[in-house]
Amino acid sequence: MQDQPTDESLVPDETRALVGTLVAEPVRAEITAKESQRYAQAVGDLDPVYFDIDAASAAGHPTLVAPPTFVTHAVVVGLPLDRIRTDGLFTGAMPMRLRVQRTMFGGEEWDFDAPVYVGDTITAETRLASIDEKAGSKGPFVRIVRETTFTNQHGDVVARSRQIGIAR
């Protein structure tokens, strides 16, 4: 192995130095009715404000509403099959070295600051928010938090999400 640890840390200094920096290029995407509705159908959420313009108007919205958690998926950029990694995710994220065997998705949290509407253009910027080594019952692990800020075409932050990864 090229990266033999010289100390007990699972997090190389070069990785620790990435805290606060962008982990991928910013992504911009338009919220489309079809994609928003496909997401709503997939999670079984058939709220009329996502599907029926009259229902959205009656609820006081200017147009169709997107489900709150859809914004995360709206900014996933489709790519050809040869750019999908064996874990099914797209290549392109900036590499981050850790001295671990496996990483898992531990959870996610959002702040919703403003509604997201069909027709909005959303820009997502993801930074490495924190990376901490912890002691667990099954040994040391690393808690990685990436924070994404979603901003609409008016410059308003509509949501912020934090994705929590666990690596050991």
Partner: protein
Amino acid sequence: MPLAATTKVGDSYEETIVENLSRTQIVQYAGASGDYNPIHTDEVFATQVAGYPTVFAHGMLTMGMTGKMLTNYVGDGRLTYYGVRFVRQVWPGDTLVARAEVSAVRTEDGATLADLVITTTNDKGEVVMTGDATARIG
């Protein structure tokens, strides 16, 4: 039925968010979300390569389905915070019940907010996801 200003600590709501989760729904979610990890959709990969008993749902699918219960409870456009932790895998065939209980009612910047504790449980009574949420109620 949205939460009202009369909401108090201990009030709760629950909803069956999926019955007998189908593999088709998992595939539908993979397409809609753009998460093509084969561990969720490819039986051979999940069992023979990754060593799981079968494929399992994306954590974010359970989160999204639980989000439906939340917006049904608090009303559209009122959710200000939602956070989840994945506790246990969700398998094809699972039936899930998502529950929210009011843990606090507070005032912040002139708005009345309710904090909720969320638990999503499978039909064996095992917790698969826990979380917290905050909604504007007045």
